[in-house]
Amino acid sequence: MQKTEGEESKAENEEVKQVTLMTSDGVKMKVEISIVYEMEIVRSFIEVNDADHSVPFPLPNVSSHTLDLIIELVKNEYDDEFMKTFSHDELKEVLVAANYLNMKTLLDFIATAIANLLEKKSVEFIRNFFNIVNDFTPEEEAEIRKTNEWVFQDLDED
């Protein structure tokens, strides 16, 4: 993997400021401050309380796996190719976490990725993706499908 400039300077024993985050599964992770700054929720806190960064900042809604993915995404400057390796569950988890952490760039990026994924997909695929239970009666659904008939031409195979 390519060395980032941050890693080079770390090797030099120059201190890269880090903030410790504690995930929902109790894992403490040291994260570079430049990445933490993208998380509005944490940033606003540490900026107001110029606190000791070694005290872990709790993130009760984010798992360590999701946080790992987010950090990698930010480090790779939102790399499309890297994102393509995500499972559907991971995409959703990152979306929920990005919303919770209030990361604007990541939200835009992930929303775009999900929109691209959903493009030209069947209703069943979309229900599956969001785990949505179909709460229409068969008659209602037939009715709506009829009004939206033009939509259901030209769909991709799931």
Binding site: T112, E119, N131, F136, I144, N148
Partner: protein, 533 residues
């Protein structure tokens, strides 16, 4: 029965996850989908049906090369005429019209073309007239290769949150619904390739006091730009050839991207009391909340930046040889990028806590340059220096970075360390200049990394570098006559070579709906280990 129950449970827990998301996030996903797909989402469940029904998206794209206007017309009209009546107050979330015409439409001499375009324009006028009867939140009009004359009534609509106008002209005087009731919802205004005048822009701005984001690019027929009384403005991107004056007073400005073309005379920032004329050659920034400044300019000799929250500063006066003084009072500065042909004198940088500095210097060579580079480097902490060398354009190879000048300046301590030195040399550089370049640059600084792009034009240079760097005697016999000076060969301990790949663009930007893919570039990298006793 039990199976059904299970399904219910999983359904609940999953919908729990999704209910953590506020509607705007899901709306945004709908918004990013093409209209057909977004409509399809309404068949998924009642929740999505409600979401879909709560707003209407109208996105139309016309490409002259692939479709005929006669076929496009009914498509738009069917959608517009099937909208619920305006009396019911439906909200149109966004209306986007992207009209892409062939290049030949630019020619004004084709009578058939003129008739065709006026027919198209008349239809577009009708559509816009119809849409304006509704409450529209986001408006996007893009015209390519024809210039659409925006109807003045468009500014009567009070509901816009964002307006993106591209390839249009605003020639009529913008009407507003009474001067006391401006269309004060507008948060985002983007004007690209728009033909209009300063007066019209000023009128629009003065009626949009809630603006948070302004992008003005390639606006023709503008002399001056005055932005004031916009208390919420946090993002401004201005790329306009202004001949007279530019003035920005915005107390909450966070990001400013400014490409100054033309001969702007005045720049007055937020902080000044009264109106100061700084004459031709000076730019002052004092916006207290500015975090990011990107500035490209030509006719400027002094730059004064006093922003207590500034984190990123990007300066470029590429292509111009004017001397440049930069005075910085920005205690929080983290990143400084400079790109240009002259090395600016930075003042006030000593107090900064180790910002990351990138200097991208395109140099034709000039006497004493090495000393300037050196003092510039010494001021910063391990900067990354990109040196582009253009041979023979202005000066000769011998004049740049000549070790002799280091001696004259009586520099006895080892030269400063820098993180990375990146060479790009113009193809016309003759091999005999390589030695000067190498000696000169390594006598002025000790880079941890020396990088050259792996491009066929550079093979010769790379071969030369590996030969020179790998064949150093343990106790070099050079520099015997100079008691005070030892060249780089005396400091270099070891070198190893590797091939690196890195993305072409340094910061790939993701824009709505479109993600730029990275292109990999390869370079040869010499990792250098210096002994500096």
């Amino acid at each position: 029965m039990s199976e059904e129950k299970e399904a219910d449970i999983t359904g609940n827990s999953d919908s729990d996850m999704m209910t953590q998301l506020p509607d705007p996030i899901l709306e945004n996903i709908l918004f990013l989908l093409p209209t057909a797909d977004a409509a399809g989402m309404s068949t998924v469940s009642k929740y999505w049906l409600n979401l879909w029904n709560s707003f209407i998206i109208l996105h139309f794209s016309f490409h002259e090369s692939t479709q005929k206007f006669e076929n496009f017309l009914p498509l738009v009209e069917d959608s517009l005429f099937s909208l619920p009546s305006p009396a019911k107050n439906p909200i149109i979330h966004s209306f986007t019209l992207n009209m892409h015409f062939g290049k030949e439409r630019r020619s004004p001499f084709d009578m058939d073309g003129v008739r065709y375009i006026s027919e198209v324009t008349a239809n577009v006028n009708d559509w816009i007239g119809l849409v304006l009867k509704y409450c529209v939140k986001h408006l996007k009009l893009i015209f390519t290769n024809i210039q659409y004359n925006l109807p003045s009534e468009i500014f009567m609509a009070k509901s816009f949150l964002s307006m993106h106008i591209q390839g249009c002209s605003i020639m009529g005087y913008p009407f507003f619904s009474g001067d006391n009731a401006p269309f004060n919802c507008l948060r985002e205004l983007v004007l690209l390739k728009v033909e209009t005048s300063s007066n019209r822009i000023h009128k629009i701005l003065s009626h949009s006091r809630l603006l948070e984001k302004i992008v003005l690019k390639d606006i023709s027929k503008m002399n001056s730009l005055i932005i004031y009384d916009l208390p919420r403005l946090s993002y401004a991107e201005i790329d306009v050839a202004l001949e007279e004056s530019l003035e920005i007073e915005a107390p909450n400005l966070c990001t400013l991207i400014l490409h100054l073309k033309g001969s702007v005379q005045t720049y007055v920032s937020d902080h000044d009391s009264g109106y100061g004329n700084y004459g031709l050659k000076k730019i002052v920034f004092e916006h207290a909340k500015l975090e990011t400044v990107e500035l490209r300019f030509n006719s400027c000799a002094r730059l004064q930046i006093a922003c207590s929250n500034l984190r990123t500063l990007f300066l470029s006066n590429k292509g111009f040889d004017n001397r440049l003084d930069v005075e910085v009072d920005a205690p929080k500065l983290k990143q400084l990028h400079y790109e240009g042909n002259v090395i600016p004198s930075f003042h006030g940088m000593e107090s900064l806590v180790k910002p990351t500095v990138t200097l991208k210097l395109g140099i034709g060579g000039r006497p004493g340059l090495d000393v300037a580079v050196r003092s510039c480097i010494e001021m910063f902490n391990h900067p990354t220096v990109h040196l582009s060398y253009f041979y023979g354009e202005i000066f000769k190879a011998q004049e740049i970075l000549w070790p002799g000048q280091v001696q004259q300046a009586e520099v006895t301590s080892p030269p400063p360390k820098i993180k990375c030195l990146i060479w790009s040399i113009s193809p016309s550089t003759p091999p005999l200049a390589y030695q000067f370049l190498l000696d000169g640059s390594l006598c002025s600084c000790h880079p941890e990394i020396l990088r050259v792009e792996a491009h066929p034009l550079n093979w010769e240079f790379i071969r030369f570098l590996s030969h020179e760097l790998h064949n150093i005697e343990e106790n070099p016999s050079c520099c015997k006559d100079e008691p005070k000076f030892r060249c780089w060969r005396h400091y270099l301990k070891s070198v190893n070579v590797e091939i690196q790949s890195h993305p072409e663009s340094e910061k790939p930007k993701t824009s709505r709906g479109k993600v730029l893919t990275k292109i990999l570039k390869y370079s040869v990298q010499f990792n250098m280990n210096w002994s500096r006793d």
